[in-house]
């Protein structure tokens, strides 16, 4: 036994050429199946047919000893045609025309000692390949080493205007000037930018050992290292553009990916007659070699007061993910009890920590902010904020500790009755504490959007200063929020066996969650679940489950965050008009709101004659949230049907259909922030958080739903004619999404002019994602050791997403510049390949 299914990752080595990673090893099928005593193949206990096994291969002797070997080499040439850069064609496949290694498998076995050495490798390209070597002795030990590259294409239609893509510094081309270029100039550069792809490669390598250390003590140790390199689409904010034409800056940038993660897994277990013990340690050490992204913004900023612009904010910056260390130590202990019982207790402690050096609050130089007239001076000296001396602490010193205790007891005193009880306790404790205080100025807060926000709107710098009348009433974040929770789950269940083929189970679960620094201090979820399993419903196996859950909790505090804002600090002076309500009091965040949930699922497996299986799944869930504002409902209904037929060892046929619809509904309310929708913002009425009040009037309520439907269908066929084997398959995927909305009055709309209202209609254009894929393969057996495979794929696809509407024409919209045009609206691609298959 190995502990592979205990550890996350690296359970599968395959690629687009061969999803299984070993398909050539499965043919030809043995015409005798697995038994002379009955025709066809047997079925699983549930009723699904086992496939016909491949012809048994005893291997070839290796020298004079007990070793034998078997090998298979498949290599050839692949040609990629059509829209080879289609995003969804190569999302996780690095298709390239050229030589490919389909599979190289070499197995050595010693039948007498149980020792073995297995090698397996495949290569589509330098960024899409795997190699793995395993060796050991059955029942004694195993060592393993692997190397693999896994591609991930994020976009194949990206047009970043910057130089330095992939680095930490994005600089504008010579034709653009940071902070001083016009939208037309930016649009021209964007239009002339060549297309490029955005994506990354995961390169993983690992070593592992598992084996018997002493008597019943089995240990395992593994170390893996992953290097992730490439780029991803990213953002960049230099303040809003939508309310301020020819102002602000919204940039879709590209960030570097340069990660290295080293994981160490250790385990020790002992499996005895009464006790079972398992100790595991998991350590993970993440390193980000590019911890920030600086970018130049081409757009000029203007203050909205109309006074001369004194600030020259033209750069932005992101902190990228910090290095982190993770340790988790866990002990599992089980004891056999009488009455077919078992008691299991698990305890774990974990910690995740990072202490990266913090960046300065801004990178700006000179003066930021707005000068209106003495004494109304909202400027700030960048020198007081562009240094880490402006921080209350130089490093993050962030840490989250976790604790787990899980105990469960199970008894089956009779063959027809059993019961179990469980208790789980889990705590996540964020120990990170940060105060946004600048010892250089004595001010609290930060520099919002690198200084751009405060250089457009006076005072919105991000600063709170109790000693300055201009800044003593600003609500800004001054502390981090160390979210955490303690979750306790109690479970009690019983199961009854009725006869040999029917069983009924019922489980009650009480989940008591105590979030920290959230809108509720207590959330209780009670759930009851029934399941029924029958192995003979007109010959079929049916598994049915239905569950009902109700969630509630203590009083919902719509704004528990005052302690993290400047209003909690001494010297804060409430504004004349009061503090605008942080949010509407009727909002219920969906992870905390009262909820009623029901779920049902039926899985049917029907043995259809001697050589076919018909299986189906029917499922649905309904969630109702007790929220006037927030998520209100979600529901999903779906079904799948599949038919598998293997009339002879030479022939297999499979067909499937699937359909699912879902709907998610939310409600929200626009605040009265404009002259045409209530105009309460900035008045005394802005302190009223209630729905129906002046700030959140009923008239501004709106409702939105996302309705999605998915269809899948497929047909595959394979037949072995003797010297020729044909395999063919066709697969269809179609997904359609529609986001619709209603509103009480136009007061809820983002844009309320007649043209906008007319354009709003009642929903967005439909989204779609559709692929049709036809695969054909012909395998010719030249002789017992040599074969040739010809194969081809033809795929068409269609895609549309309203987020990218218009991007095919331009990526430039006033002070907004985008990089990604999104997936191709239509594409068709082809793959043709020939492989030589050698049995070694």
């Amino acid at each position: 036994d190995t502990s592979g299914t205990m550890r996350v990752g690296d359970m599968q080595y395959g690629n687009g050429l061969d999803l299984r990673g070993w398909t050539p090893m499965l043919y030809p099928a043995d015409p005798d199946g697995t038994s002379y005593l009955h025709a066809g193949m047997l079925r699983t206990p549930t009723g699904a047919l086992y496939p016909y096994p491949p012809m048994a291969d005893a291997g070839k002797p290796l020298g004079q000893g007990d070793w034998t070997y078997a090998g298979l080499l498949e290599f050839g040439y692949l040609h990629v045609g059509g829209d080879r850069n289609a995003e969804y064609f190569r999302q996780y496949d690095d298709w390239r025309s050229g030589a490919v290694l389909g599979l190289f498998a070499l197995d050595f076995n010693n039948r007498k000692t149980g020792e073995y050495v297995d090698f397996r490798g495949s290569r589509v390209s330098g960024g899409d390949q795997f190699y793995r070597l395993r060796a050991g002795r059955y029942g004694s030990y195993r060592v393993e080493g692997f190397y693999r590259d896994m591609p991930h294409t994020v976009s194949t239609s990206a047009y970043p205007i910057w130089n330095g893509v992939g680095s930490t510094d994005l600089t504008l081309p010579a034709s653009l000037v940071a902070g001083a270029s016009t939208p037309a100039q930016v649009a021209a550069v964007s239009a002339a930018t060549p297309r490029r792809s955005i994506g990354m490669v995961r390169t993983r390598a690992g070593l592992g050992y598992e084996g018997t250390l002493y008597r019943n003590w089995i240990g395992s140790a593994s170390i893996t290292n992953e290097k992730r390199t490439g780029t991803r689409l990213w953002g960049g904010s230099m303040f809003f553009n939508y309310p301020f034409p020819d102002n602000g800056g919204v940039l879709e940038t590209v960030r570097p990916i340069d990660f290295r993660t080293t994981d160490v897994n250790l385990s020790l277990r002992n499996v005895g007659k009464v006790w079972r013990f398992l100790a595991t340690y998991n350590g993970s050490f993440f390193r980000n070699h590019k911890d920030h992204l600086n970018f130049e913004s081409p757009f000029a900023l203007w203050n909205v007061t109309g006074t001369p612009q004194v600030a020259d904010i033209k750069d932005g910056q992101f902190s990228l993910e910090p290095d982190n260390d993770y340790h988790n130590l866990r002990l599992d202990l089980s004891r056999e009890l009488k009455w077919n019982g078992q008691f299991t207790v698990v305890g774990a402690w974990g910690t995740m920590r990072q202490n990266d050096a913090l960046l300065a609050p801004t990178t700006c130089t000179g003066v930021g902010g707005i000068f209106i007239a003495p004494p109304v001076d909202y400027t700030f000296q960048c020198a007081n904020w562009n240094t880490t001396a402006a921080l209350s602490q130089k490093n993050a010193n962030a840490r989250i500790d976790t604790g787990l205790f899980d105990a469960r007891v199970t008894f089956h005193p009779t063959a027809s009755f059993g019961w179990h009880a469980g208790l789980r306790w889990y705590r996540e404790d964020d120990k990170t504490r940060y105060l946004a205080y600048n010892p250089l100025t004595g001010q609290y807060g930060y520099i919002s959007e690198n200084g751009s926000q405060g250089s457009v709107v006076p005072g919105e710098t991000g600063i709170f200063d109790p000693s300055n009348p201009l800044y003593r009433s600003y609500m800004v974040t001054v502390r981090n929020n160390p979210f955490g929770y303690t979750d306790t789950i109690f479970e009690l269940g019983g199961d009854w066996q009725f006869g040999r083929k029917n069983s009924l189970g019922v489980v009650y679960t009480y989940d008591h969650n105590r979030p920290k620094y959230r809108e509720r201090k207590r959330v209780d979820d009670q759930r009851i679940k029934f399941d029924w399993v029958s192995r003979d419903v007109v010959g079929a196996t049916v598994r049915l489950s239905w569950e009902y859950a109700k969630r509630d909790g203590d009083k919902y505090n719509y704004d528990p965050y005052a302690q993290f804002f400047s209003e909690s600090l001494p010297g804060f002076v409430e504004p004349v008009m009061g503090i605008a309500a942080h949010t509407v009091a009727d909002m219920r965040k969906y992870d905390l709101s009262d909820r009623t949930e029901s779920k049902a699922r039926v899985i049917v497996t029907y043995p259809w004659g001697e050589s076919a299986t018909l299986s189906a799944t029917f499922y649905g869930n309904r969630d109702q949230y007790d929220a006037v504002i927030g998520r209100q409902s979600s529901r999903t209904t779906g079904a799948t049907v599949q038919w598998d037929w293997q009339p002879t060892p030479a022939t297999t046929v499979n067909a499937y259909l699937g359909a699912e619809t879902s709907r998610l509904g939310i409600a929200n309310v626009g605040d009265a922030d404009g002259p045409d929708n209530g105009a309460a913002f900035g008045t005394i009425g802005q302190t009223d958080p209630n729905l129906g009040g002046p700030l959140y009037p009923f008239a501004n309520q709106w409702w939105e739903f996302d309705r999605e439907s998915n269809r899948n269908a497929g047909l595959s066929f394979s037949h072995d004619f003797g010297r020729v084997r044909l395999d063919a398959s066709y697969n269809y995927t179609g997904s359609f999404g529609h986001v619709g909305y209603t509103y009480d009055t136009v007061g809820g709309l983002a844009y309320r002019d007649p043209a906008a209202v007319a354009a709003a209609s009642n929903g967005f254009p439909d989204n779609k994602y559709r692929t049709n894929t036809l695969d054909l393969g012909l395998n010719f057996a030249v002789n017992r050791s040599v074969g040739v495979r010809l194969f081809g794929r033809y795929q068409t696809g269609a895609f549309s997403d309203w987020h990218y509407a218009g991007f095919d024409n331009t990526l430039s919209y006033d002070h907004r510049i985008y990089t990604d045009k999104g997936g191709q609206l239509h594409y068709s691609t082809s793959l043709v390949g020939v492989m030589l298959n050698l049995k070694l």
Partner: protein
């Protein structure tokens, strides 16, 4: 005669048999059976008796693979072991196929060292009753659809060797509660998969036997690279049981995600509550029609919670699209994430709104 002798010797080393002291269950004696069937190669007890230097064999229910005892068959409590050669006399093709599986190769390798104890009856139970009435169901422990053996008994046989480790939490797991047997996913009798003695040709095909809807979700626009052969369901889930309901390999959803997405682990100076609480608040990990596995399109996703004054709570409509009269950054491209880019948490002192 020799067959009789080894059969008796084999019985003496089968402590897990129902009752080693019972009398033969029929009118046929062991010697009668021995005369009717080919000689057996069983006889580990004899091997041990003749070689005091062999390592001791634990009487633990979880035995080394090469010392598996013979399980009792509740439906044939009086049955006696008869030896593998007897079985192979009829089950010739089974022997051919099974001999090339990892399972039997292990048995045989073990037999080469410690005595040929482990064989057909180590899993199928004592075969004498079955040999006398081969077509009568239940007289041999069966692992297929028509077998009368209960899933509990089937799993018990497998766990007698394979207990603990990755299977420590099988008892009480959803798969156990739904009456699944090990052989719903595994077939140790034929090399249907080059590794893992699976019941189908790959892990993902095995899981999709029942979880067809989940497999279909992986066909959606954004998904993890499972349909491309780079991942298996068992990369995240342990089908043998775990302490979480979805059979996750780690203690929580987030810890499972962090295993590959370690950069999201942080902790960050400024955290986003739903992110830290559960990745599934915003992502549907099995597949989504939205970008990056999101459960809803942006900005709708964000507006489920954010209704703060000013810019977050406006109803965005087609008017704000790139083709509309008011192109709006809150809707276009990455939507909210164009500015609140560090949505998984920011480590920047100026990042409480995830702008930096």
């Amino acid at each position: 005669l020799s067959g009789s002798r080894v059969a008796q010797a084999q019985q003496a080393t089968a402590p897990a048999a129902a009752d080693s002291a019972h009398s033969p269950s029929s009118a046929l004696s062991q010697s009668d059976i021995a005369k009717m069937l080919p000689a057996t190669d069983m006889g580990a007890g004899a091997a041990r008796a003749n070689n005091p230097h062999l390592p001791p064999v634990s009487d633990s229910p979880a035995t080394p693979f090469d010392a598996a005892s013979i399980p009792a068959n509740p439906l044939a409590p009086q049955a006696d072991a008869i030896g593998a050669k007897s079985c192979v006399a009829c089950h010739t093709q089974e022997n051919v196929q099974a001999s090339h599986t990892l399972h039997v190769a292990s048995f045989r390798a073990g037999a080469a060292n410690t005595g040929p104890q482990a064989a057909c009856e180590s899993c199928h139970g004592p075969g004498s009753e079955h040999a006398k009435a081969p077509t009568a169901p239940g007289l041999i422990i069966g692992f297929t659809h028509d077998a009368k053996t209960s899933p509990q008994t089937q799993a018990g046989v497998c766990l007698s060797c394979h207990a603990g480790g990755a299977r420590q939490h099988w008892i009480g797991s959803i798969h156990q509660n739904r009456g699944l047997s090990c052989t719903d996913c595994h077939n140790p009798m034929a090399k249907l998969s080059p590794e893992g003695v699976l019941a189908k040709s790959s892990i993902n095909e095995v899981c999709a036997t029942c979880h067809q809807d989940i497999r279909a979700k992986f066909n959606r626009r954004s998904h993890m690279p499972l349909p491309e052969g780079q991942m298996a369901c068992t990369d995240c889930h342990n089908p043998h049981g775990s302490i979480t309901k979805p059979l996750l390999k780690t203690d929580t959803v987030n810890e499972t995600c962090y295993t590959c997405h370690a950069e999201k682990r942080g902790p960050f100076l400024f955290e986003h509550a739903p992110v830290r609480q559960n990745c599934l608040n915003c992502h549907d990990v099995h597949g989504s029609n939205q970008q990056t596995l999101l459960v809803a399109p942006v900005p709708m996703l964000c507006q489920q919670c954010h209704t703060m004054t000013r810019h977050p709570n406006d109803l965005q409509t087609s008017a704000g699209l790139g083709t509309g009269p008011h192109p709006d950054e809150r809707l276009m491209g990455r939507g909210c994430l164009s500015c609140h880019t560090n949505i998984h948490g920011s480590n920047n002192p100026s990042g409480p709104k995830f702008h930096k």
